[in-house]
Amino acid sequence: MSSSPGNSPFLHRATIAFFLGLALWVPVANLLLPAESPLALSSYSVSLLGKYLCLALLALALDLLWGYAGLLSLGHGAFFALGGYAMGMYLMRQIGTRGVYGDADLPDFMVFLDWSELPWYWWGFDSFPFAMLMVLLVPGVLALVFGWLAFRSRVTGVYFSIMTQAMTYALMLAFFRNEMGFGGNNGLTDFKDLLGFDLHADSTRCALLVVTALTVLGSYMLCRRLLATRFGAVVTALRDQEGRVRFLGYSVASYKLVVFVLSAMLAGVAGALYVPQVGIINPGEFQPLNSIEIAIWVAVGGRGTLVGAMLGAFVIAAVETLLTAQFPEAWLFALGALFLLVTLFLPRGLLGLWERRGHG
Protein backbone atom coordinates (compact mmCIF):
# COMPACT_ATOMS: atom_id res chain seq x y z
CA MET A 1 0.00 0.00 0.00
CA SER A 2 3.02 2.25 0.05
CA SER A 3 3.57 3.65 -3.39
CA SER A 4 0.19 3.64 -5.11
CA PRO A 5 -0.82 7.03 -6.47
CA GLY A 6 -4.27 6.55 -4.99
CA ASN A 7 -2.62 7.43 -1.74
CA SER A 8 -1.05 10.69 -2.83
CA PRO A 9 -2.47 13.27 -0.41
CA PHE A 10 -2.98 15.77 -3.20
CA LEU A 11 -5.02 13.38 -5.34
CA HIS A 12 -6.99 12.31 -2.31
CA ARG A 13 -7.93 15.89 -1.45
CA ALA A 14 -8.67 16.69 -5.08
CA THR A 15 -11.01 13.70 -5.23
CA ILE A 16 -12.91 14.81 -2.14
CA ALA A 17 -13.11 18.36 -3.49
CA PHE A 18 -14.36 17.10 -6.84
CA PHE A 19 -17.28 15.13 -5.43
CA LEU A 20 -18.24 17.77 -2.88
CA GLY A 21 -17.91 20.48 -5.52
CA LEU A 22 -20.15 18.56 -7.89
CA ALA A 23 -22.74 18.06 -5.16
CA LEU A 24 -22.79 21.80 -4.46
CA TRP A 25 -22.40 23.18 -7.96
CA VAL A 26 -24.87 21.06 -9.93
CA PRO A 27 -28.04 22.08 -8.03
CA VAL A 28 -27.01 25.74 -8.21
CA ALA A 29 -26.16 25.61 -11.91
CA ASN A 30 -29.31 23.71 -12.83
CA LEU A 31 -31.95 25.10 -10.48
CA LEU A 32 -30.85 28.64 -9.65
CA LEU A 33 -28.97 30.01 -12.65
CA PRO A 34 -31.11 31.25 -15.55
CA ALA A 35 -30.96 28.97 -18.59
CA GLU A 36 -29.16 31.57 -20.72
CA SER A 37 -26.30 31.90 -18.22
CA PRO A 38 -23.07 30.39 -19.60
CA LEU A 39 -22.62 28.51 -16.33
CA ALA A 40 -26.10 27.00 -16.35
CA LEU A 41 -26.43 23.25 -16.60
CA SER A 42 -29.21 21.59 -18.60
CA SER A 43 -31.33 18.86 -17.08
CA TYR A 44 -29.91 16.52 -19.68
CA SER A 45 -26.40 17.25 -18.45
CA VAL A 46 -27.46 16.65 -14.86
CA SER A 47 -28.68 13.18 -15.81
CA LEU A 48 -25.48 12.49 -17.72
CA LEU A 49 -23.31 13.53 -14.79
CA GLY A 50 -25.40 11.42 -12.45
CA LYS A 51 -24.95 8.46 -14.76
CA TYR A 52 -21.16 8.94 -14.90
CA LEU A 53 -21.03 9.06 -11.13
CA CYS A 54 -22.77 5.69 -10.91
CA LEU A 55 -20.30 4.21 -13.37
CA ALA A 56 -17.45 5.66 -11.32
CA LEU A 57 -18.82 3.85 -8.27
CA LEU A 58 -19.02 0.64 -10.28
CA ALA A 59 -15.39 1.07 -11.35
CA LEU A 60 -14.40 1.73 -7.75
CA ALA A 61 -16.08 -1.52 -6.74
CA LEU A 62 -14.16 -3.49 -9.36
CA ASP A 63 -10.87 -1.81 -8.50
CA LEU A 64 -11.22 -2.82 -4.87
CA LEU A 65 -11.53 -6.41 -6.02
CA TRP A 66 -9.17 -6.47 -8.99
CA GLY A 67 -6.67 -3.80 -8.10
CA TYR A 68 -6.16 -4.84 -4.49
CA ALA A 69 -7.22 -8.48 -4.14
CA GLY A 70 -6.06 -9.34 -7.67
CA LEU A 71 -9.37 -10.96 -8.59
CA LEU A 72 -10.56 -9.86 -12.02
CA SER A 73 -14.31 -10.22 -12.03
CA LEU A 74 -15.73 -10.02 -15.53
CA GLY A 75 -19.22 -10.27 -14.14
CA HIS A 76 -19.52 -7.09 -12.13
CA GLY A 77 -22.19 -5.83 -14.50
CA ALA A 78 -24.41 -8.53 -12.99
CA PHE A 79 -24.16 -7.14 -9.46
CA PHE A 80 -24.78 -3.67 -10.85
CA ALA A 81 -27.85 -4.91 -12.73
CA LEU A 82 -29.22 -6.79 -9.71
CA GLY A 83 -28.97 -3.65 -7.58
CA GLY A 84 -30.65 -1.82 -10.43
CA TYR A 85 -33.47 -4.34 -10.65
CA ALA A 86 -34.08 -4.14 -6.89
CA MET A 87 -34.44 -0.37 -7.21
CA GLY A 88 -36.49 -0.80 -10.39
CA MET A 89 -38.93 -3.11 -8.59
CA TYR A 90 -39.50 -0.48 -5.92
CA LEU A 91 -40.04 2.17 -8.61
CA MET A 92 -42.50 -0.13 -10.41
CA ARG A 93 -44.51 -0.56 -7.23
CA GLN A 94 -44.57 3.22 -6.85
CA ILE A 95 -46.42 3.52 -10.17
CA GLY A 96 -49.57 2.10 -8.56
CA THR A 97 -52.68 2.69 -10.64
CA ARG A 98 -50.93 5.11 -12.99
CA GLY A 99 -49.87 2.32 -15.35
CA VAL A 100 -51.41 1.88 -18.78
CA TYR A 101 -53.74 -0.83 -17.43
CA GLY A 102 -54.39 1.02 -14.19
CA ASP A 103 -54.07 -2.17 -12.15
CA ALA A 104 -53.44 -1.39 -8.50
CA ASP A 105 -51.78 -4.72 -7.69
CA LEU A 106 -49.80 -5.69 -10.75
CA PRO A 107 -47.23 -3.89 -12.88
CA ASP A 108 -48.28 -3.46 -16.52
CA PHE A 109 -46.11 -6.25 -17.89
CA MET A 110 -47.72 -8.79 -15.54
CA VAL A 111 -51.21 -7.70 -16.58
CA PHE A 112 -50.07 -8.08 -20.17
CA LEU A 113 -48.89 -11.63 -19.41
CA ASP A 114 -52.31 -12.37 -17.87
CA TRP A 115 -50.85 -12.97 -14.45
CA SER A 116 -53.41 -12.79 -11.67
CA GLU A 117 -51.26 -12.15 -8.67
CA LEU A 118 -47.93 -10.70 -7.68
CA PRO A 119 -45.15 -13.35 -7.50
CA TRP A 120 -43.76 -13.83 -3.98
CA TYR A 121 -40.38 -12.38 -4.87
CA TRP A 122 -42.03 -9.04 -5.55
CA TRP A 123 -43.47 -8.92 -2.04
CA GLY A 124 -42.04 -6.18 0.12
CA PHE A 125 -40.81 -4.02 -2.74
CA ASP A 126 -43.51 -1.45 -1.96
CA SER A 127 -41.32 -0.58 0.98
CA PHE A 128 -38.33 1.65 0.26
CA PRO A 129 -36.21 0.38 3.19
CA PHE A 130 -36.87 -3.20 2.14
CA ALA A 131 -35.91 -2.44 -1.45
CA MET A 132 -32.70 -0.73 -0.29
CA LEU A 133 -31.89 -3.77 1.83
CA MET A 134 -32.32 -5.93 -1.26
CA VAL A 135 -30.03 -3.60 -3.23
CA LEU A 136 -27.29 -4.72 -0.86
CA LEU A 137 -28.41 -8.26 -0.07
CA VAL A 138 -29.14 -9.67 -3.51
CA PRO A 139 -25.72 -8.86 -5.01
CA GLY A 140 -24.09 -9.61 -1.65
CA VAL A 141 -25.62 -13.05 -1.28
CA LEU A 142 -24.93 -13.97 -4.89
CA ALA A 143 -21.28 -12.96 -4.42
CA LEU A 144 -21.16 -14.88 -1.15
CA VAL A 145 -22.41 -18.12 -2.67
CA PHE A 146 -20.45 -17.77 -5.91
CA GLY A 147 -17.29 -16.67 -4.11
CA TRP A 148 -17.55 -19.40 -1.50
CA LEU A 149 -17.70 -22.05 -4.21
CA ALA A 150 -14.90 -20.46 -6.22
CA PHE A 151 -12.46 -19.57 -3.45
CA ARG A 152 -12.97 -22.75 -1.50
CA SER A 153 -11.86 -24.72 -4.56
CA ARG A 154 -9.10 -22.16 -5.12
CA VAL A 155 -10.36 -20.97 -8.45
CA THR A 156 -8.18 -18.01 -9.39
CA GLY A 157 -6.86 -16.02 -12.29
CA VAL A 158 -8.40 -16.46 -15.66
CA TYR A 159 -10.69 -19.27 -14.46
CA PHE A 160 -12.31 -16.91 -11.99
CA SER A 161 -12.76 -14.30 -14.74
CA ILE A 162 -14.35 -16.82 -17.08
CA MET A 163 -16.69 -18.11 -14.37
CA THR A 164 -17.89 -14.60 -13.61
CA GLN A 165 -18.50 -13.98 -17.33
CA ALA A 166 -20.55 -17.15 -17.44
CA MET A 167 -22.47 -15.99 -14.39
CA THR A 168 -23.53 -12.70 -15.92
CA TYR A 169 -24.33 -14.39 -19.23
CA ALA A 170 -26.56 -16.94 -17.50
CA LEU A 171 -28.34 -14.18 -15.60
CA MET A 172 -28.87 -12.26 -18.82
CA LEU A 173 -30.56 -15.26 -20.44
CA ALA A 174 -32.71 -15.76 -17.36
CA PHE A 175 -33.78 -12.12 -17.18
CA PHE A 176 -34.67 -12.10 -20.87
CA ARG A 177 -37.38 -14.68 -20.14
CA ASN A 178 -40.83 -13.25 -19.52
CA GLU A 179 -41.66 -16.03 -17.07
CA MET A 180 -38.94 -14.77 -14.73
CA GLY A 181 -41.27 -11.93 -13.78
CA PHE A 182 -38.89 -9.02 -14.30
CA GLY A 183 -40.38 -7.63 -17.48
CA GLY A 184 -38.38 -9.81 -19.88
CA ASN A 185 -36.82 -8.10 -22.84
CA ASN A 186 -38.22 -4.67 -21.98
CA GLY A 187 -37.15 -4.75 -18.38
CA LEU A 188 -38.62 -2.28 -15.95
CA THR A 189 -39.38 1.28 -17.03
CA ASP A 190 -41.96 4.13 -17.10
CA PHE A 191 -41.12 4.99 -13.52
CA LYS A 192 -43.05 7.89 -12.03
CA ASP A 193 -41.63 8.81 -8.68
CA LEU A 194 -39.28 7.90 -5.87
CA LEU A 195 -40.34 8.41 -2.25
CA GLY A 196 -43.13 10.57 -3.63
CA PHE A 197 -40.83 12.88 -5.62
CA ASP A 198 -41.46 13.17 -9.35
CA LEU A 199 -38.52 11.58 -11.15
CA HIS A 200 -38.86 13.97 -14.07
CA ALA A 201 -38.63 17.10 -11.94
CA ASP A 202 -35.34 18.98 -12.08
CA SER A 203 -35.20 19.20 -8.30
CA THR A 204 -35.46 15.40 -7.99
CA ARG A 205 -32.74 14.91 -10.60
CA CYS A 206 -30.47 17.30 -8.75
CA ALA A 207 -31.19 15.62 -5.44
CA LEU A 208 -30.38 12.24 -6.97
CA LEU A 209 -27.12 13.61 -8.29
CA VAL A 210 -26.19 14.99 -4.89
CA VAL A 211 -27.01 11.68 -3.20
CA THR A 212 -24.98 9.83 -5.84
CA ALA A 213 -21.96 12.13 -5.52
CA LEU A 214 -21.97 11.75 -1.75
CA THR A 215 -22.41 7.98 -1.99
CA VAL A 216 -19.46 7.65 -4.35
CA LEU A 217 -17.37 9.85 -2.06
CA GLY A 218 -18.43 7.83 0.99
CA SER A 219 -17.64 4.55 -0.75
CA TYR A 220 -14.24 5.83 -1.81
CA MET A 221 -13.45 6.87 1.77
CA LEU A 222 -14.68 3.50 3.03
CA CYS A 223 -12.41 1.63 0.61
CA ARG A 224 -9.44 3.74 1.62
CA ARG A 225 -10.09 3.22 5.31
CA LEU A 226 -10.46 -0.49 4.75
CA LEU A 227 -7.24 -0.74 2.76
CA ALA A 228 -5.32 1.15 5.44
CA THR A 229 -6.05 -1.55 8.05
CA ARG A 230 -4.26 -4.83 8.59
CA PHE A 231 -7.15 -6.34 6.64
CA GLY A 232 -6.18 -4.22 3.66
CA ALA A 233 -2.55 -5.19 4.04
CA VAL A 234 -3.48 -8.89 4.01
CA VAL A 235 -5.59 -8.39 0.88
CA THR A 236 -2.82 -6.59 -0.98
CA ALA A 237 -0.36 -9.21 0.20
CA LEU A 238 -2.44 -12.09 -1.11
CA ARG A 239 -2.66 -10.37 -4.48
CA ASP A 240 1.15 -10.46 -4.67
CA GLN A 241 2.03 -13.68 -2.82
CA GLU A 242 -1.03 -15.75 -2.07
CA GLY A 243 0.97 -18.72 -0.83
CA ARG A 244 2.99 -16.67 1.63
CA VAL A 245 -0.21 -15.24 3.15
CA ARG A 246 -1.72 -18.69 3.51
CA PHE A 247 1.41 -20.10 5.15
CA LEU A 248 1.38 -17.18 7.58
CA GLY A 249 -1.88 -18.62 8.86
CA TYR A 250 -4.44 -16.40 7.15
CA SER A 251 -7.47 -18.03 5.59
CA VAL A 252 -7.07 -16.61 2.11
CA ALA A 253 -10.52 -17.71 0.98
CA SER A 254 -12.34 -15.77 3.69
CA TYR A 255 -10.44 -12.58 2.92
CA LYS A 256 -11.25 -12.90 -0.76
CA LEU A 257 -14.85 -13.60 0.10
CA VAL A 258 -15.20 -10.47 2.23
CA VAL A 259 -13.74 -8.28 -0.51
CA PHE A 260 -15.83 -9.93 -3.22
CA VAL A 261 -19.07 -9.48 -1.26
CA LEU A 262 -18.27 -5.89 -0.38
CA SER A 263 -17.36 -5.12 -3.96
CA ALA A 264 -20.57 -6.73 -5.24
CA MET A 265 -22.61 -4.66 -2.80
CA LEU A 266 -20.96 -1.44 -3.95
CA ALA A 267 -21.74 -2.44 -7.53
CA GLY A 268 -25.35 -3.07 -6.48
CA VAL A 269 -25.59 0.40 -4.93
CA ALA A 270 -24.21 1.88 -8.15
CA GLY A 271 -26.93 0.10 -10.11
CA ALA A 272 -29.64 1.24 -7.72
CA LEU A 273 -28.57 4.88 -8.12
CA TYR A 274 -28.28 4.48 -11.88
CA VAL A 275 -31.78 3.23 -12.58
CA PRO A 276 -33.85 6.21 -11.38
CA GLN A 277 -31.49 8.55 -13.25
CA VAL A 278 -31.65 6.77 -16.59
CA GLY A 279 -35.27 5.66 -16.15
CA ILE A 280 -34.90 2.03 -17.20
CA ILE A 281 -33.30 -1.30 -16.31
CA ASN A 282 -33.31 -4.19 -18.75
CA PRO A 283 -31.44 -7.48 -19.25
CA GLY A 284 -28.97 -5.73 -21.57
CA GLU A 285 -27.17 -4.59 -18.43
CA PHE A 286 -26.13 -8.23 -17.87
CA GLN A 287 -24.35 -8.40 -21.24
CA PRO A 288 -20.86 -9.88 -20.83
CA LEU A 289 -19.51 -6.96 -22.85
CA ASN A 290 -20.66 -4.48 -20.20
CA SER A 291 -18.63 -6.24 -17.56
CA ILE A 292 -15.56 -6.25 -19.77
CA GLU A 293 -15.98 -2.52 -20.27
CA ILE A 294 -15.80 -1.96 -16.51
CA ALA A 295 -12.43 -3.70 -16.45
CA ILE A 296 -11.29 -1.43 -19.28
CA TRP A 297 -12.27 1.68 -17.31
CA VAL A 298 -10.22 0.45 -14.37
CA ALA A 299 -7.23 -0.49 -16.51
CA VAL A 300 -7.29 2.80 -18.40
CA GLY A 301 -7.64 4.89 -15.26
CA GLY A 302 -5.04 2.97 -13.28
CA ARG A 303 -5.64 -0.28 -11.51
CA GLY A 304 -5.11 -0.47 -7.77
CA THR A 305 -5.47 3.26 -7.19
CA LEU A 306 -9.22 3.75 -6.52
CA VAL A 307 -9.02 7.32 -7.84
CA GLY A 308 -7.77 6.12 -11.22
CA ALA A 309 -10.61 3.65 -11.60
CA MET A 310 -13.19 6.37 -11.03
CA LEU A 311 -11.35 8.70 -13.36
CA GLY A 312 -11.24 6.02 -16.05
CA ALA A 313 -14.99 5.45 -15.81
CA PHE A 314 -15.69 9.16 -15.98
CA VAL A 315 -13.41 9.87 -18.91
CA ILE A 316 -14.45 6.88 -20.98
CA ALA A 317 -18.16 7.40 -20.33
CA ALA A 318 -17.85 11.05 -21.33
CA VAL A 319 -15.95 10.18 -24.51
CA GLU A 320 -18.55 7.53 -25.25
CA THR A 321 -21.34 10.09 -24.97
CA LEU A 322 -19.54 12.40 -27.40
CA LEU A 323 -18.59 9.69 -29.86
CA THR A 324 -21.84 7.73 -29.94
CA ALA A 325 -23.71 10.93 -30.75
CA GLN A 326 -21.41 11.63 -33.72
CA PHE A 327 -20.18 8.23 -34.93
CA PRO A 328 -22.16 5.42 -33.28
CA GLU A 329 -20.36 2.64 -35.18
CA ALA A 330 -16.93 3.91 -34.22
CA TRP A 331 -17.35 3.64 -30.46
CA LEU A 332 -16.33 0.02 -29.87
CA PHE A 333 -13.29 0.46 -32.11
CA ALA A 334 -12.33 3.61 -30.27
CA LEU A 335 -12.69 1.84 -26.93
CA GLY A 336 -10.60 -1.08 -28.11
CA ALA A 337 -7.93 1.24 -29.47
CA LEU A 338 -7.84 3.25 -26.25
CA PHE A 339 -7.46 0.09 -24.22
CA LEU A 340 -4.62 -1.13 -26.44
CA LEU A 341 -2.82 2.21 -26.35
CA VAL A 342 -3.07 2.48 -22.60
CA THR A 343 -1.94 -1.10 -22.01
CA LEU A 344 1.01 -0.61 -24.33
CA PHE A 345 2.13 2.86 -23.33
CA LEU A 346 0.64 3.50 -19.91
CA PRO A 347 0.71 0.18 -18.08
CA ARG A 348 -0.20 2.02 -14.88
CA GLY A 349 -3.09 3.83 -16.53
CA LEU A 350 -3.85 7.53 -16.66
CA LEU A 351 -2.79 7.87 -13.04
CA GLY A 352 0.57 6.47 -14.03
CA LEU A 353 1.09 9.71 -15.98
CA TRP A 354 0.55 11.61 -12.79
CA GLU A 355 3.03 9.42 -10.96
CA ARG A 356 5.67 9.87 -13.64
CA ARG A 357 5.21 13.62 -13.47
CA GLY A 358 5.61 13.37 -9.69
CA HIS A 359 8.93 11.57 -9.99
CA GLY A 360 10.23 13.66 -12.88
Partner: protein, 254 residues
Protein backbone atom coordinates in the same frame (compact mmCIF):
# COMPACT_ATOMS: atom_id res chain seq x y z
CA UNK B 1 -2.17 -21.19 19.56
CA UNK B 2 -2.81 -24.63 20.97
CA UNK B 3 -0.05 -26.10 23.08
CA UNK B 4 1.90 -28.81 21.39
CA UNK B 5 2.27 -31.89 23.53
CA UNK B 6 5.97 -32.76 23.48
CA UNK B 7 6.05 -34.86 26.66
CA UNK B 8 8.07 -37.51 24.90
CA UNK B 9 10.44 -34.96 23.43
CA UNK B 10 9.24 -35.34 19.87
CA UNK B 11 8.15 -32.25 17.93
CA UNK B 12 7.52 -33.76 14.53
CA UNK B 13 6.83 -37.33 13.58
CA UNK B 14 6.25 -38.73 10.12
CA UNK B 15 5.44 -42.35 9.59
CA UNK B 16 5.54 -44.17 6.23
CA UNK B 17 4.52 -41.13 4.20
CA UNK B 18 4.11 -41.70 0.47
CA UNK B 19 3.40 -39.14 -2.21
CA UNK B 20 3.21 -39.81 -5.90
CA UNK B 21 2.78 -37.37 -8.77
CA UNK B 22 1.11 -39.12 -11.67
CA UNK B 23 2.98 -42.32 -11.02
CA UNK B 24 6.27 -40.74 -9.95
CA UNK B 25 7.03 -41.66 -6.33
CA UNK B 26 8.29 -38.38 -4.80
CA UNK B 27 8.10 -39.72 -1.22
CA UNK B 28 8.33 -43.43 -0.62
CA UNK B 29 7.23 -44.65 2.82
CA UNK B 30 9.30 -41.92 4.40
CA UNK B 31 9.61 -41.88 8.19
CA UNK B 32 11.25 -39.14 10.19
CA UNK B 33 11.24 -37.93 13.80
CA UNK B 34 12.54 -34.56 14.91
CA UNK B 35 13.06 -33.84 18.61
CA UNK B 36 11.93 -30.70 20.35
CA UNK B 37 14.63 -28.02 20.31
CA UNK B 38 16.63 -29.80 17.64
CA UNK B 39 18.32 -28.17 14.65
CA UNK B 40 18.03 -30.79 11.94
CA UNK B 41 19.46 -30.63 8.46
CA UNK B 42 17.97 -32.44 5.51
CA UNK B 43 20.31 -33.02 2.62
CA UNK B 44 19.98 -35.01 -0.53
CA UNK B 45 20.37 -34.66 -4.27
CA UNK B 46 17.97 -32.62 -6.37
CA UNK B 47 14.62 -34.33 -6.68
CA UNK B 48 15.16 -36.39 -3.52
CA UNK B 49 11.84 -35.14 -2.15
CA UNK B 50 12.98 -32.53 0.39
CA UNK B 51 10.60 -29.81 -0.72
CA UNK B 52 7.78 -32.31 -1.12
CA UNK B 53 8.39 -33.39 2.48
CA UNK B 54 7.89 -29.78 3.61
CA UNK B 55 4.78 -29.56 1.43
CA UNK B 56 3.32 -32.54 3.24
CA UNK B 57 4.11 -31.22 6.72
CA UNK B 58 2.62 -27.80 5.97
CA UNK B 59 -0.55 -29.12 4.32
CA UNK B 60 0.26 -28.07 0.77
CA UNK B 61 0.40 -31.64 -0.51
CA UNK B 62 -1.79 -34.47 0.76
CA UNK B 63 0.11 -37.73 1.07
CA UNK B 64 -1.33 -40.88 -0.49
CA UNK B 65 -0.67 -42.73 2.74
CA UNK B 66 1.15 -42.39 6.03
CA UNK B 67 0.74 -40.12 9.02
CA UNK B 68 2.16 -36.78 10.13
CA UNK B 69 2.02 -35.65 13.75
CA UNK B 70 2.99 -32.43 15.45
CA UNK B 71 3.86 -33.34 19.02
CA UNK B 72 2.03 -36.34 20.40
CA UNK B 73 -1.48 -35.73 19.28
CA UNK B 74 -1.93 -33.12 16.56
CA UNK B 75 -2.62 -34.92 13.32
CA UNK B 76 -1.46 -32.45 10.69
CA UNK B 77 -3.37 -34.26 7.96
CA UNK B 78 -6.58 -32.99 9.56
CA UNK B 79 -5.66 -29.35 8.93
CA UNK B 80 -5.18 -27.01 5.99
CA UNK B 81 -2.15 -24.77 5.37
CA UNK B 82 -3.44 -21.77 7.28
CA UNK B 83 -4.51 -23.86 10.27
CA UNK B 84 -1.14 -25.63 10.37
CA UNK B 85 0.60 -22.26 10.34
CA UNK B 86 -1.59 -21.14 13.23
CA UNK B 87 -0.69 -24.30 15.13
CA UNK B 88 2.88 -23.04 15.17
CA UNK B 89 4.56 -24.34 12.03
CA UNK B 90 6.41 -21.67 10.07
CA UNK B 91 7.80 -22.26 6.62
CA UNK B 92 10.30 -20.51 4.41
CA UNK B 93 9.95 -21.31 0.75
CA UNK B 94 12.77 -22.37 -1.49
CA UNK B 95 11.94 -19.42 -3.73
CA UNK B 96 11.97 -16.43 -1.40
CA UNK B 97 8.53 -14.91 -1.10
CA UNK B 98 7.78 -11.63 0.60
CA UNK B 99 5.28 -8.88 -0.19
CA UNK B 100 7.14 -6.66 -2.65
CA UNK B 101 4.82 -3.65 -2.58
CA UNK B 102 4.77 -3.35 1.18
CA UNK B 103 7.46 -1.95 3.39
CA UNK B 104 9.86 -4.23 5.20
CA UNK B 105 8.24 -3.10 8.45
CA UNK B 106 4.76 -3.97 7.16
CA UNK B 107 5.92 -7.38 5.98
CA UNK B 108 7.03 -8.18 9.50
CA UNK B 109 3.97 -6.59 11.10
CA UNK B 110 1.66 -8.61 8.90
CA UNK B 111 3.33 -11.80 10.07
CA UNK B 112 3.03 -10.96 13.78
CA UNK B 113 1.23 -13.75 15.58
CA UNK B 114 -2.54 -13.47 16.15
CA UNK B 115 -5.32 -11.37 14.56
CA UNK B 116 -5.79 -13.83 11.71
CA UNK B 117 -9.52 -13.58 10.98
CA UNK B 118 -10.78 -10.82 8.64
CA UNK B 119 -12.75 -9.26 11.46
CA UNK B 120 -9.79 -9.21 13.85
CA UNK B 121 -7.56 -7.84 11.11
CA UNK B 122 -10.03 -5.02 10.45
CA UNK B 123 -10.02 -3.97 14.07
CA UNK B 124 -6.32 -4.50 14.72
CA UNK B 125 -4.31 -1.62 16.18
CA UNK B 126 -0.62 -2.32 16.76
CA UNK B 127 0.25 -2.22 20.46
CA UNK B 128 3.53 -0.83 21.76
CA UNK B 129 4.60 -4.40 22.38
CA UNK B 130 3.86 -5.21 18.74
CA UNK B 131 5.91 -2.25 17.54
CA UNK B 132 8.79 -3.26 19.78
CA UNK B 133 8.62 -6.79 18.51
CA UNK B 134 8.74 -5.69 14.87
CA UNK B 135 11.65 -3.35 15.62
CA UNK B 136 13.46 -6.15 17.44
CA UNK B 137 12.97 -8.55 14.54
CA UNK B 138 14.06 -5.95 12.01
CA UNK B 139 17.28 -5.50 13.97
CA UNK B 140 17.76 -9.23 14.36
CA UNK B 141 17.66 -9.78 10.59
CA UNK B 142 19.79 -6.71 9.96
CA UNK B 143 17.11 -4.78 8.10
CA UNK B 144 16.23 -2.15 10.70
CA UNK B 145 17.69 0.67 8.61
CA UNK B 146 15.70 -0.48 5.59
CA UNK B 147 12.44 -0.97 7.47
CA UNK B 148 10.74 1.90 5.66
CA UNK B 149 11.59 0.63 2.18
CA UNK B 150 9.44 -1.49 -0.06
CA UNK B 151 10.46 -5.15 0.27
CA UNK B 152 10.60 -5.47 -3.51
CA UNK B 153 13.82 -3.47 -3.54
CA UNK B 154 15.79 -5.77 -1.24
CA UNK B 155 18.75 -7.83 -2.38
CA UNK B 156 18.37 -11.60 -2.65
CA UNK B 157 20.05 -12.26 0.68
CA UNK B 158 18.05 -9.57 2.42
CA UNK B 159 14.84 -11.02 1.01
CA UNK B 160 15.77 -14.42 2.45
CA UNK B 161 16.33 -12.81 5.84
CA UNK B 162 13.12 -10.88 5.69
CA UNK B 163 11.25 -14.09 5.07
CA UNK B 164 13.00 -15.71 8.03
CA UNK B 165 12.08 -12.65 10.10
CA UNK B 166 8.46 -13.08 9.06
CA UNK B 167 8.57 -16.70 10.21
CA UNK B 168 9.91 -15.61 13.57
CA UNK B 169 7.17 -12.99 13.88
CA UNK B 170 4.67 -15.85 13.81
CA UNK B 171 6.24 -17.26 16.98
CA UNK B 172 6.35 -20.75 15.53
CA UNK B 173 7.30 -23.82 17.53
CA UNK B 174 8.63 -25.53 14.44
CA UNK B 175 10.42 -23.79 11.58
CA UNK B 176 10.88 -25.44 8.21
CA UNK B 177 13.47 -23.63 6.15
CA UNK B 178 14.01 -24.58 2.53
CA UNK B 179 17.45 -23.68 1.12
CA UNK B 180 18.06 -20.49 3.08
CA UNK B 181 21.59 -19.73 1.86
CA UNK B 182 21.15 -20.44 -1.84
CA UNK B 183 22.56 -17.41 -3.63
CA UNK B 184 23.97 -15.82 -0.50
CA UNK B 185 27.49 -14.44 -0.15
CA UNK B 186 29.91 -16.13 2.21
CA UNK B 187 29.36 -13.44 4.83
CA UNK B 188 25.57 -13.62 4.53
CA UNK B 189 25.76 -17.39 4.84
CA UNK B 190 27.71 -17.12 8.07
CA UNK B 191 25.24 -14.67 9.56
CA UNK B 192 22.36 -16.93 8.58
CA UNK B 193 24.08 -19.85 10.30
CA UNK B 194 24.39 -17.78 13.49
CA UNK B 195 20.78 -16.71 13.31
CA UNK B 196 19.45 -20.25 12.88
CA UNK B 197 21.63 -21.55 15.69
CA UNK B 198 20.32 -18.87 18.02
CA UNK B 199 16.77 -20.18 17.59
CA UNK B 200 17.34 -23.55 19.20
CA UNK B 201 16.52 -24.94 21.69
CA UNK B 202 13.56 -22.58 22.23
CA UNK B 203 12.29 -23.49 18.80
CA UNK B 204 12.71 -26.55 16.64
CA UNK B 205 14.30 -25.98 13.25
CA UNK B 206 14.45 -28.17 10.15
CA UNK B 207 16.71 -26.85 7.39
CA UNK B 208 17.04 -28.15 3.86
CA UNK B 209 20.36 -27.20 2.40
CA UNK B 210 22.83 -28.18 -0.32
CA UNK B 211 25.74 -26.15 0.95
CA UNK B 212 27.83 -28.71 2.85
CA UNK B 213 30.01 -26.11 4.58
CA UNK B 214 26.85 -24.47 5.85
CA UNK B 215 25.40 -27.77 7.00
CA UNK B 216 28.62 -28.60 8.76
CA UNK B 217 28.58 -25.23 10.52
CA UNK B 218 25.09 -25.61 11.99
CA UNK B 219 23.90 -29.18 12.13
CA UNK B 220 24.19 -31.54 14.97
CA UNK B 221 22.16 -34.14 13.16
CA UNK B 222 21.71 -34.70 9.47
CA UNK B 223 19.16 -36.79 7.57
CA UNK B 224 20.01 -37.77 4.01
CA UNK B 225 17.07 -38.10 1.66
CA UNK B 226 17.28 -40.13 -1.49
CA UNK B 227 14.51 -41.18 -3.84
CA UNK B 228 11.79 -40.20 -1.43
CA UNK B 229 13.09 -41.92 1.69
CA UNK B 230 15.62 -41.37 4.45
CA UNK B 231 18.82 -43.05 3.37
CA UNK B 232 20.67 -42.50 6.60
CA UNK B 233 20.80 -40.26 9.61
CA UNK B 234 23.60 -39.17 11.93
CA UNK B 235 26.30 -36.62 12.60
CA UNK B 236 27.67 -34.75 9.59
CA UNK B 237 30.94 -36.69 9.80
CA UNK B 238 29.23 -40.04 9.98
CA UNK B 239 26.99 -39.13 7.09
CA UNK B 240 29.77 -37.82 4.90
CA UNK B 241 31.81 -40.96 5.28
CA UNK B 242 28.85 -43.23 4.61
CA UNK B 243 29.49 -45.22 1.45
CA UNK B 244 25.86 -45.12 0.29
CA UNK B 245 25.73 -41.35 0.68
CA UNK B 246 28.93 -40.99 -1.35
CA UNK B 247 27.43 -43.14 -4.03
CA UNK B 248 24.22 -41.09 -4.16
CA UNK B 249 26.09 -37.85 -4.47
CA UNK B 250 28.61 -39.40 -6.89
CA UNK B 251 31.38 -37.51 -5.21
CA UNK B 252 29.88 -34.06 -5.60
CA UNK B 253 29.73 -31.68 -2.66
CA UNK B 254 30.84 -34.27 -0.10
Amino acid sequence: MADIDTRHGVMLYLDAVSVSFSGYQALNELSLAVDEGELRCLIGPNGAGKTTLMDVITGKTRPDSGSVFLGQDINLLDHDEAAIARLGVGRKFQKPSVFPHQRVWDNLALALVGHRSPWQALRYKPSTADEDRVAHLAKLIGLYDLAGQAAGGLSHGQTQWLEIGMLLAQDPKLLLIDEPVAGMTQQETERTAELLQSLVPDQTVVVVEHDMAFVRSIARRVSVLHEGRVLTEGSIDAVQTDARVREVYLGDAC
